[in-house]
Symmetry: C2
Subunit: 537 residues, 2 copies
């Protein structure tokens, strides 16, 4: 009830600018978005036809070309790609992991991203060696030679006592609308850097001990596998092949190893590197504004994905919604005041690197004057160190970006907007969303969100936002997993989302004023002495 009351009050308070907007445009958008939708055709091409789009992989290159062609076909302008240094391309041609003694079982497993090929089959006994930090090395020294090392602690997942598939209730949404004061953990970036450093030290240790391959355990049960890997930089490739094994299969291996003798695995990991271009590319397209001095609004989603599924909910869905919103606005013949820019990011899964590059290229420099941009770092170092660079120095285009909207939470319909800790935008968002409230998208909540392509914009004081989305089975099952496939996308949700997104973008592009910003961030000083940091990335 509190929400309804606030909504009514807020709308009344800013009724004049609302009436000034082109209400007919709203209905043209809804007509195009719901009656002539292309969003599932787009999503199917990205997922079924092109498949998983790991950054710099051959499939991602195809997607970079195809999405530009589509934007152009739909009449978007200034369609181009913007490169940034990334690392190696990598793809899976064939893989097989079998237990061959004490009995034969075809296991469910996937090569870990950016690990090297086995060059044929590696057949060796396993050893369970859950080496979690550098001081564990001593414990396992001398025991790993000729072995496939199982590096994950063999603990099963908890039982699934919640439904896999879920839509948000009003109560759920209400809980998101509670302001939280910011906290700052000065040591967090440091710890993350050490963690990354550890992955390299572990690989060197295992290699020096004569281990022949590495096996880790999937973090979801039910035979879901994921295969994330982060040593993608040129010169960073680990020396040992590594597979991630389904939880049920990994746990069986660990139990049999405990009984003894240790089971023998046969691993075939036929993976391919592609070093033809170490740059990754963001795709940019625009609907030009009628007022060249009014700046631009922007919507983005990362086009890259992991490789176990087809990158459908993460983030073919978001990419298709962004593209569809562009198509809807273009097809509706709307000429907005501000330019509307669309971005399909790359390198998000490896540290939000595409939108970080955009910030560096267009918005602000982080770090002492004259210091190298974060993009000078290698691999994920860029990501972990980035928000610890001070001060922030705006670039020429800093003031032009009036609002950025990100989509990266699966295929669920939009339920409203996160104000992302910026209370001044709440009444404005309520007004923009009012036409879409009857589609379930009328909610505005204060909660900040993280982990995707709006965060580095937020981190330099540019207003970046995400939509509230129905979770469906995104967090429970599809996120990064082997079932992130087109059949887990919800067509009706995706049509609604593309339509609402288009509507919000047009409202933002036509708004009298740019969105109110937070002050330019400076290094925080308020730390929480009661918080025990559990930052484990």
């Amino acid at each position: 009830m509190r929400h309804l009351l606030l909504t009514a009050t807020a709308i009344a308070a800013i009724a004049l600018p609302a009436q000034a907007q082109d209400r007919a445009a709203t209905n043209r958008i809804i007509d195009e978005g719901l009656n002539r939708s292309q969003v599932m055709v787009t999503a199917q091409h990205l997922t079924d036809v092109i498949g998983p789009r790991m950054t710099n992989s051959p499939a991602m290159r195809k997607a970079e070309g195809w999405t530009q062609a589509k934007f152009s076909e739909w009449g978007l302008k200034n369609v181009h790609k913007e490169g940034f240094p990334f690392g190696r391309g990598w793809s899976i041609e064939r893989s097989s992991v079998r237990m061959v003694t004490p009995r034969v079982v075809q296991l469910t497993a996937i090569p870990v991203a950016w690990t090297p090929a086995t060059n044929g089959a590696i057949t060796a006994p396993v050893v369970v060696a859950p080496i979690e930090r550098e001081r564990d090395f001593a414990k396992y020294r001398g025991q790993l030679s000729g072995k496939i090392v199982m590096i994950t602690q063999p603990e099963p997942a908890r039982d699934g006592t919640e439904p896999d598939f879920k839509r948000l209730t009003g109560d759920d949404i209400g809980k998101l609308d509670q302001y939280r004061q910011p906290t700052y953990d000065p040591a967090s970036a440091d710890r993350r850097m050490k963690r990354l450093d550890y992955a390299k030290k572990l690989d060197a240790f295992l290699k020096s001990e004569g281990a022949v391959a590495v096996a880790s355990m999937s973090y979801r049960d039910g035979k879901l596998i994921h295969g994330e890997g982060y040593l993608f930089g040129v010169g960073e490739t680990p020396s040992l092949p590594q597979v991630q094994i389904a939880q049920e299969d990994y746990l069986r291996l660990a139990r049999l190893a405990k009984i003894g003798p240790a089971p023998t695995l046969e691993i075939v990991s036929d993976v391919r590197f592609d070093d033809s271009d170490a740059n990754a590319y963001n795709i940019i397209a625009e609907i030009p504004g009628t007022d060249p001095k009014a700046g631009y609004v922007m919507a983005g989603a990362h086009l890259d994905s992991w490789v176990a599924g087809d990158g459908a909910t993460d983030n073919g869905a978001g990419s298709a919604m962004i593209m569809e919103a562009a198509r809807i606005i273009a097809a509706s013949g709307i000429r907005p005041k501000r330019t509307i820019r669309f971005a399909l990011w790359s390198g998000e899964e490896q540290g939000i690197l595409g939108s970080m590059a955009y910030v560096e290229q267009h918005l602000a420099h982080r770090g002492p004057a004259g210091s190298e941009d974060a993009k000078g770092g290698n691999g994920m170092q860029r990501y972990y160190g980035y928000t610890d660079r001070w001060p922030i120095t705006p670039k020429a285009g800093y003031g032009d970006l009036a609002a950025y909207f990100n989509i990266d939470n699966g295929s669920g319909k939009l339920r409203g907007l996160y104000a992302e800790g910026n209370p001044a935008v709440v009444p404005i968002f309520r007004e923009w969303l009012a036409p879409y409230a009857s589609m379930g998208a009328g909610n505005v909540v204060i909660r900040p969100t993280g982990g995707t392509d709006h965060v580095f914009m937020q981190s330099v004081g540019v207003p970046g936002f995400q939509f509230i989305q129905d979770p469906l089975d995104y967090g429970s099952r599809t996120h990064h997993s082997s079932i992130d496939t087109f059949d887990h996308l919800k067509a009706e949700d995706m049509r609604q989302a593309s339509t609402v997104l288009a509507g919000v973008l047009v409202s933002a592009a036509n708004a009298k004023d740019p969105l109110p910003r937070m002050p330019l961030p400076t290094k925080p000083v308020v730390t929480d002495p009661f918080a025990y940091s559990q930052d484990d990335d």
Copy 2:
């Protein structure tokens, strides 16, 4: 509350026989079952070490030997196996299904049981041909040559809006205690026979059309696979290799085929037949009774399993509980009045054939006097025709079996007993279970259950029962699936179940009278004119 009241009343009404029992035995059973349990060690050997135990497979042969050795080691008597005609042995050595055009994807798939090997790799385009009945043949004639035929209608599963993992509430159990009058569908056996016949006709049609392999779709999503097949009889082996493909992978193939050109699959199905012995074997063991004229009580579980997982919840769990109950009673030094016989059945997954053979060998003949036993049929024909044979003629041992208890519903703890439509046993069961009510096992409900090894005993009028069990994730995920592995077993539940089972068996063996039976069944005549039969088995 109604339950509690009834329980108290019932106990009061039959208090005398209860007091006559050896209460000390109950506490010795609980001590042995909970403080010195071996049930998880047994279960691990059956699942991790021996693995899936498909009827007549090499692993099932190992299990037949190991379980007899264990029974003997624990002091059981008359340990032996009893053979019955079954069919071929079959096992998987290696399998791989990849989509190789329009792009490369390693799919999740399993050879369908008792289908032939590919002898190397079969590489061919797919065709979606959901041929569901004989009259569909004409539609696809001339289109299948050289193709891998996708025979399942490509429809996705419904979203999982219930938790995977569940325990029964009091309300859930209350709903099971509602008497339902029996109904009879005289045409059901006929339809099932036709369905089985259809599988053979379909194989012949596909072969004659020049198809090279068959692909079906898994009936669960989330990359779970199962691979059941029923043409296990000697001379019944289908002519075409067949794989069951995970739902996400199958649906992607179907969608790509619709866009065209049809994807190409590479199938490797390295499976092995073992025809060294066409008999399957039930394993029998006993704790002899002190009164040779008192007959026997019996508990059983099927030892055989499907092959996608390790046959843990179906039915390594039940087998281990049966074995553990035997061990507990033997170790407790209890000398029951009646003999307690333990059975580990074979061929359950292919039509409850092991316990059917037991009925034929020990209890009753079904069909006209002098007619061949059902076991004379081949494969699943035995199963489908069995309960349609009239009259029932008791054999010499018919009256000796005082009660049969079956376990086949996963690893969940026992919550009580199904009276299986036999109201006269309700007060007796309540009394037997009273010591275990505080462990959650005090419930008695009238509902009949089906689908496993007590049904053919019931069908000839012998009192056969099952326990109520907490469902856990048995029905939702593990039943027949690729995650039917040891890590999905619950140790505390299995200790409780083995202990309660042992206690109930001792009560049944010591009871003054055999359990009240239903009258000898005759051919039913009451059919339900309002019931539209949906028997699709």
